[in-house]
């Protein structure tokens, strides 16, 4: 149904661009603020400290617990070492992240946005620095409105200096995940690090400074795709930041010391329209307008309103974490009830478990040997002068162990097949193939079979690799092509 349109007193040419209204969030104390500080501390500690954790992998291997070694084509995570061929683990992690986000959002709204997103964490840190140097909301507004003087200049220089230092530390920590942390930090300071390292430090420092210092809520509102579709994860049972309209309205100012009964007699609601919930909001919105895209779910307005209600001696949680269904029930005088176990929660939860379990099983059973065989396609097969048929294969053995190993290759599936490997001895049935530590051995393998043994155009053929020392066996399937008939 089309929205009713009424002609209003508006300009002839509507503006296509809107100036940003700068947000000056006010300081607030309370349960969720403490939670936010805790999350900030833990997350920043993880980010800055993890590259310094050491993990002994033996000689010749990096001893950093978490490291993505681009030139060496390896990713290390404590006891796990990932090869480029295993990039599906990265895909798995991203899928886990996505389902985790969906699950949390369907249960408790934008917890990620409000508490854990790097944009929120660093913006919070930057605001804390800003408050320390320029003062709280009113002082900051005054500073910004004041003409440029010595004091204002000093404050601005101090603030941006501190921001840039944090930005540098952020960019500096980022590259530690891709380089040996102690080495790269030393190199950074003496000017010996590579141009790429300086480039990435510069890039991440600049984005940190711009996004946390200047863009802030603009990133959430205009750049981030997640707020645009996160509402699809919500239903009437999701816990969201809600305003209890049914008891808050009609809002209006009251004198201090007014009791709830007096207020009711005046015909007013519980909201005293003090505006604190708006002033503490980091995105500058009014939660009393209802659910909106710009609400990042940080719950600071809950803390603000509870503080006011406590001072008034009125019931708390006028702004609260609650579901839209509960709010409707409360408004209608019914009994609210939380429903956490809902189909979508089950679906997201079981997908999360499924992918997590699959990854855990795959990691636990991960072999230190892998083999892959690829048959030649031009020609598929060749007839020899004595009438036998020969197929050629490119055969690769991935030795993921840290020492050189020797493997015995044999084939099964075609009777009387002869096996040869270019450059290596073979007795016709098996060949000894050495592969260096932590490398891929590539071999050209020739399999020759009497034509009489080949009834079909293709016969299944199995390459069998047995590790000499441990007897560990890996197989890969391929086909033997022939003229058929």
């Amino acid at each position: 149904m089309a929205a009713p349109l009424v002609a209003g007193p508006v300009a002839d040419e509507p503006p296509l661009y809107a100036d940003r209204v700068k947000v000056y969030p006010q300081k607030v104390a309370g349960r969720f603020r403490r939670l936010k500080w805790a999350a900030l501390g833990v997350l920043l500690a993880i980010y800055y400290l993890v590259p310094w954790i050491r993990w002994n992998r033996g000689p010749g291997a990096p001893d950093q617990a978490v490291l993505i070694d681009m030139p060496g084509r390896r990713a290390y995570f404590f006891f796990i070492e990932i090869w480029p061929q295993e990039v599906y683990y990265l895909a798995g992690l991203l899928i886990l992240g996505a389902f985790g986000l969906f699950l949390v959002t369907s249960v408790a709204g934008r917890v990620w946005c409000g508490f854990a997103c790097p944009q929120t964490v660093w913006t919070d840190l930057y605001m804390w620095v800003e408050r320390l140097i320029e003062g709280d909301r009113n002082r900051r507004i005054k500073v910004d409105q004041a003409p440029l003087g010595l004091e204002k200049a000093a404050k601005k220089v101090a603030k941006h200096g501190a921001w840039l230092l944090i930005a540098l530390a952020t960019g500096g920590a980022w590259i530690m995940y891709f380089n040996d942390a102690p080495t790269v930090v030393g190199d950074l300071f003496v000017g010996r690090a590579s141009l790429a390292v300086y480039g990435f430090v510069g890039l991440f420092s600049a984005t940190t400074y711009l996004l946390a210092g200047w863009a802030r809520e603009q990133l959430c509102i205009y750049m981030c795709p997640w707020p645009r579709f996160q509402a699809a994860m919500f239903d009437e049972h999701s816990l969201l930041i809600t305003y209890e309209t049914w008891r808050g309205e009609p809002r209006g100012h009251v004198r201090a010391g007014t009791s709830l009964a007096e207020r009711a007699a005046q015909g007013g609601g519980h909201c005293i329209d003090c505006g604190l919930c708006v002033r503490v909001c980091p995105t500058g919105i009014d939660i009393r307008d209802g659910q909106q895209l710009a609400c990042i779910g940080c719950a600071l307005c809950v803390d603000a309103c509870n503080g006011v209600m406590d001072r008034m001696g009125w019931p708390r949680d006028l702004i609260t974490y609650d579901s839209l269904g509960n709010q409707d029930a409360r408004a209608a005088g019914g009994t609210p009830g939380l429903r956490l176990l809902r189909p979508r929660v089950f679906v997201y939860g079981s997908l999360l478990l499924l992918v997590g379990a699959a990854m855990a099983v795959s990691l636990a059973t991960r072999s230190t040997v892998d083999a892959s065989v690829q048959p030649d396609r031009a020609p598929l097969f060749v007839a020899l002068t004595d009438g036998r048929i020969r197929n050629a294969y490119t055969f690769k053995i991935l030795n993921k162990a840290r020492q050189p190993r020797s493997f015995a290759l044999s084939v099964a599936g075609v009777e009387d097949a002869r096996l040869d490997v270019i450059g290596y001895d073979s007795d016709g049935r098996t060949a000894e193939l050495p592969v260096g530590a932590d490398t891929v051995g590539s071999f050209r393998v020739l399999v020759t079979a009497p034509r009489a043994r080949l009834v079909e155009a293709t016969t299944p053929l199995t390459f069998i690799v047995a590790e000499q020392a441990t007897g560990q066996v890996v197989e890969d399937e391929t086909v033997f092509a022939g003229p058929g008939g």
């Binding site: 929205a3 503006p15 100036d19 020609p379 020899l384 002068t385 050629a392």
Partner: protein, 289 residues
């Protein structure tokens, strides 16, 4: 287009004032800084005109203050790559092909490098995997016209076949039919004899007669039993591998008026290391002796 801005009662927002078949759009203004970012990218692009080649002139183009040229960059990268390979190239030049094939490191390097050389230079005639085509020998099987050991393959690659090079390999089968060396019935008989070598003769009596013709005219090069002779470049006739086709009419045509392929000499076109790598690669395809 008429502009009639209205205010939407539900959202309190203005419309853009445009209407398409009754559809009106709310005006949600972009942030101004977004516009400035767009201007900044325009300014940035002007920087490109200054530092990089950009504008055509009548006879030339603006070079840009950095003097950048993708062709020069490519040349520099190729030089760098050649320099990086120098150690290998020197070793390959110093070693004989037999030594290369016996050294696991050089063998692996040559098989990979040879694949690239082969794909660039040999594949158009011999096929991407050396599978050949009618008239262009298959290099994967174990039948070799001019010999299949490393030295023989290197000789063929280096100097070619009927290439005009001083040291080229040359062979020429006489035109038995066209030049009247053999009468037509004799040619039919000898073709039946050749087919009988792979048990395909349709006329046993003709094959019997052809045996004498073969011994008198062909065996000198192709050998008594048609086994071929690599020294003379005479192909074997007693297996299923045929350069110009193995059907009776193909054999008849080849006896009457033989076709002869040409392979260029690669000496002078490819450097020594590339020729050796190609040799080792072809040898490693499967048929090497």
């Amino acid at each position: 287009m008429a502009t009639k801005v209205e205010r939407d009662a539900v959202t309190g927002q203005d419309t853009t004032g445009h209407e398409w078949d009754g559809i009106k759009e709310l005006n949600t203004p972009l942030p101004t800084w977004w516009l400035y970012v767009f201007y900044a990218t325009i300014v940035w692009s002007i920087g490109y005109w200054v530092v990089f080649p950009a504008w055509p002139t009548l006879t030339d183009y603006s070079r840009g203050v950095l003097g950048y040229s993708s062709r020069a960059t490519l040349a520099a990268r190729l030089d760098q790559a050649a320099e990086a390979r120098r150690g290998w190239t020197d070793r390959l030049e110093a070693a004989a092909v037999e030594d290369i094939a016996a050294d696991p490191e050089l063998l692996r390097y040559s098989m990979n490098g040879g694949r690239a050389v082969f794909a660039d230079n040999c594949a158009p005639c011999h096929g991407s995997g050396g599978q050949g085509a009618p008239g262009f020998p298959n290099l994967v099987d174990d039948s070799w016209i001019w010999g299949g050991d490393l030295a023989a393959i290197q000789q063929t690659v280096r100097f070619g076949v009927r290439s005009g090079h001083d040291e080229t390999r040359v062979s020429e089968m006489p035109r038995f039919g066209v030049d009247g060396v053999l009468a037509d019935p004799d040619i039919g008989d000898v073709a039946q004899f050749v087919l009988s070598l792979t048990n395909r003769a349709a006329d046993a009596a003709a094959a019997e007669r052809g045996a004498t013709v073969f011994a008198d005219n062909c065996a000198a090069c192709h050998g008594e039993g048609g086994a071929g002779m690599a020294e003379l470049g005479a192909p074997s006739l007693n297996d299923d591998i045929w350069l110009f086709g193995g059907e009776p009419e193909d054999i008849l045509a080849q006896v009457r008026s033989p076709r002869h392929g040409v392979m260029p000499a690669w000496e002078g076109r490819l450097d020594d290391a590339a020729i050796k790598m190609a040799t080792v690669y072809v040898h490693s395809l499967g048929g090497g002796q």
